[in-house]
């Protein structure tokens, strides 16, 4: 009798918890699929609202008749592969040559906060830094270079997309490095290295042979995300990329916003082409992985100790890593200087005067968009963190962990180029009457925030000692009370960190905000990118600084709050 009374609610509760991951997946995948449909139909000529109802492949023939198509395609592909390969290479060299050293810890501290800085702010900083009239040129001119005037050389917006690639690399290195560091914790790398070195392997070769394969297996999805992202990025490409022609994704946005409706068809076709390119690139990367694995295995089996590798690759790793970090930091500093600059002509290394005028002037705009930014970020992070915790708790209660396939689904919004489904989402939102505003934007942000929150919280959550749960339950505590009085407080730090990561992701979103907000929702990022076309460095500087503060502050809170709350609890400061 009591038996049944207990069992029934338990199974009802179980099916509730069992349904949670599914609900989360629907929230995430739903908009992506709907958006893709909204792209596929116009790509084949079907846009009934505009009186275009006949299926055809004309959009594609138009697309391939555009004389910029191959240049734009090449840019997308080369930028994507180059940025991904370089970022991965720098991270690998750094980890192989330096992990465990003081220099490495120092660089790690330097790079970690950079992970959160929005791509747009980083790109602005780098543009300010490396342009022919940029800060570097100013500092060494004319006394060293003889450049009385900025040299007429194409550094940013170069047709090969070199500046774009470098801008992406500086931003992806911190991302991959932190992913790799998280993976390192589970790879027993110290022990492996000890074994390898005792067998006479060098630091780099030993690491590559014994640790890299384990770590790579864990950061594989993030690497693929970097590849897909680098191929199809819009905001960074608008700031650092070439314009004659622009990369494919930027061209899609241009066509998408053309008053001539028929351009939407070619835009959709181009968006699908972009999607196809990304899928193909992921495939090529996968083949590359296989080949590398085979060659790597052969290399391992040969048993060469490769001690000479250390001499060349260690300095290379630390130099590239430092350069990457410095260029972002100096760029951000440059944004700060411009934001308070009076007249600052070339080749002065510093402005003639400093003035608060720029800030006073832009403050009304900055404060408005700051409030919107914070509101959207707070809402989307709250939703994402709640869903992720609910999923992880469901996993804990039902004992079924998320399958590898489901994991891929969670990553789907990051692997499918935003440009391929967001335009479709925009049309879809309009048709359901949810025209614009905060809610659709927040929902779209959740789609992109959630995977990162999931990524960041899963390991700490799963690593929580399950015996704590056993003990608490045996003391007569319900699962819900265990969650709220034990697990959440004990995991306060990782939860806040995951929230800060999510916050940074939300603050940095450009395309989802622009398209789901119908232009009405002005965040720091959309305002900053809108300003980029105007080239007013003081305004861009002020917005960039604010963007940076908006993401650094939550990280500071995530670090300091648990420290303060648990100031008398040493056991939580492991």
């Amino acid at each position: 009798m009591t038996d049944r009374a207990v069992r029934r609610p338990a199974s009802a509760a179980r099916s509730f918890w069992g349904a949670l991951p599914l609900l989360t997946l629907i929230i995430m995948i739903g908009p992506v699929l709907a958006g893709l449909l909204g792209t596929v139909l116009p790509a084949f000529g079907y846009l009934p609202a505009a009186g275009l109802g006949a299926f055809s492949i004309t959009p594609f023939t138009d697309l391939f008749a555009w004389n910029g198509i191959w240049a734009a395609t090449r840019l997308s592909v080369i930028t994507g592969f180059a940025a991904t390969f370089l970022s991965l290479a720098i991270v690998t060299l750094l980890m192989a040559g330096w992990s465990g050293t003081r220099a490495f810890r120092w660089l790690e501290t330097l790079l970690s906060p950079l992970l959160s800085v929005p791509h747009a702010a980083t790109a602005f900083g780098i543009a300010f830094l490396i342009a022919p009239s940029g800060w570097i040129a100013r500092m060494i001119s004319p006394w060293l270079t003889g450049w009385e005037r900025p040299p007429d050389v194409l550094i940013t917006q170069d047709p090969l997309g070199i500046a774009l690639t470098l801008g992406l690399v500086t931003k992806e290195v911190p991302f991959l490095l932190l992913m790799a560091l998280a993976a390192k914790g589970q790879s027993a790398s110290t022990q492996r290295m000890r074994v390898a070195q005792s067998l006479g392997y060098g630091r780099v070769s030993g690491w590559l042979k014994s640790v890299f394969p384990v770590i790579y297996a864990q950061i594989r999805l993030p690497v693929l995300v970097v590849l897909a992202y680098s191929m199809s990025v819009v905001d960074v490409a608008m700031i650092l990329g070439p314009t004659t022609p622009p990369p494919l994704s930027v061209q899609v946005v241009k066509w998408m916003s053309d008053p001539d409706l028929s351009k939407r068809l070619i835009a959709s076709a181009a968006a699908l082409w972009q999607l196809a390119l990304v899928i193909a690139a992921l495939g090529v990367w996968w083949i590359g992985e296989r080949i590398t694995a085979r060659l790597g295995l052969a290399w391992v089996e040969r048993g060469t100790r490769n001690l000479h590798l250390d001499k060349t690759t260690r300095p290379l790793g630390i130099i590239l890593g430092t350069l990457s970090a410095l260029s972002v930091l100096l760029g951000l500093l440059c944004l700060g200087v411009w934001s308070v600059a009076g007249f600052w002509g070339y080749p002065d290394a510093l402005p003639q005067s400093l003035t608060p005028k720029n800030w006073a002037r832009h403050w009304p705009d900055i404060s408005d968009s700051l409030i919107t930014t914070l509101l959207i970020a707070a809402l989307s992070v709250a939703v994402a963190v709640t869903l992720v915790i609910a999923c992880l708790e469901a996993e804990h209660r039902t004992g079924r962990s998320l399958s590898q396939k489901a994991l891929w689904l969670i990553y789907a919004p990051l692997l499918i180029p935003q440009i391929a489904f967001l335009p479709g989402v925009q049309t879809g939102l309009l048709m359901t009457g949810a025209t614009s505003g905060l809610w659709p934007v927040t929902l779209m942000h959740v789609v992109f925030v959630l995977p990162y929150v999931f990524l960041s919280l899963t390991d700490p959550w799963r690593n929580w000692d399950p015996r704590i749960d056993t003990i608490a339950r045996s003391l007569g505590t319900s699962p819900t009370r265990v969650l709220f009085t034990l697990r959440l407080p004990m995991l306060l730090r990782p939860i806040l960190t995951a929230a800060a990561v999510g916050f940074a992701v939300s603050v940095g979103q450009y395309l989802p905000t622009l398209l789901a907000g119908g232009g009405r929702v002005a965040t720091l990022t959309t305002e900053a990118v809108a300003l980029s076309s105007g080239g007013d460095r003081r305004a861009i500087g002020a917005f960039g600084v604010m963007q940076t503060l908006a993401v650094i502050a939550p990280f500071a809170i995530a670090t300091l709050l648990p420290y303060w709350m648990w100031r008398n609890r040493k056991g939580l400061h492991g």
Binding site: D3, R467, D469, T470, I471, A472, S474, P479, K570
Partner: protein, 210 residues
């Protein structure tokens, strides 16, 4: 009345393969020692008893505590306490709050009083506000013991509970635990790989596994 802990024809399988079988009656105040090499399913047995069996395992049989079948009960309703090798004090709570966590009922002042008494019983008078992380290993073990006892369990499980302690403290804590369990008339199931533990318990010993 069928007092004590009764494991009726318990059989645990893993992926269809039988892992262990046990049928035992542990009287109040009795200590049943379960021994066996690692992989023999000692800890799995305890998980089954607390109600935390992982989905990879399947179990048949019944757990009857003081005459009522608790096999289908969720862990928090079973009143079966457990101690692990690590103290597992909740690191974000003070020593006093750790004890209060398991304590059932009572007014605020009664609860305070109970905790005070419990702490001085184990020589930790005035430790209420201390951070558990600042306690020595032996002190932590005593707090953990008090925490489970204050929750008023009807049975106690010991999962290698003394293996983490150095030799001196080990005997001390073990005696303390057994004393308290006997004083409260609790049936105890102890899983250990240490023959000293088994000897000290002085009860029946069941050998598991190959």
């Amino acid at each position: 009345m069928d007092n004590g802990l009764h494991l009726k024809a318990v059989e645990i399988c893993r992926g269809g393969q039988p892992l262990l079988q046990i049928d035992a009656q542990v009287a109040p105040g009795e200590i049943l020692t379960v021994m066996g090499p690692s992989g023999s399913g000692k800890s799995t047995l305890l998980s089954f008893l607390t109600g935390h069996l992982a989905p990879a395992f399947a179990a048949t049989g019944q757990v009857v505590l003081d005459g009522s079948d608790v096999t289908a009960q969720p862990p928090e309703h079973r009143k079966i306490g457990i101690l692990f090798q690590d103290d597992l004090l909740f690191p974000h709570l003070s020593v006093g709050a750790n004890l209060a966590f398991g304590l059932r009922g009572g007014t605020k002042s009664e609860r305070q009083k109970t905790i005070e008494t419990a702490l001085s019983d184990v020589g930790l008078k005035g430790f209420e506000t201390r951070d558990p992380a600042t306690l020595s290993g032996g002190q932590k073990a005593r707090v953990a013991l008090m925490r489970v006892l204050l929750s008023d369990p009807k049975a106690l499980l010991l999962d290698e509970a003394f293996s983490g302690l150095d030799t001196d403290r080990r005997a001390q804590i073990r005696d303390l635990t057994f004393d308290h369990a006997r004083k409260k008339n609790l049936p105890v199931v102890m899983v250990t790989h240490d023959i000293d533990d088994a000897k000290a318990a002085g009860g029946r010993v069941i050998q598991l596994g190959p």
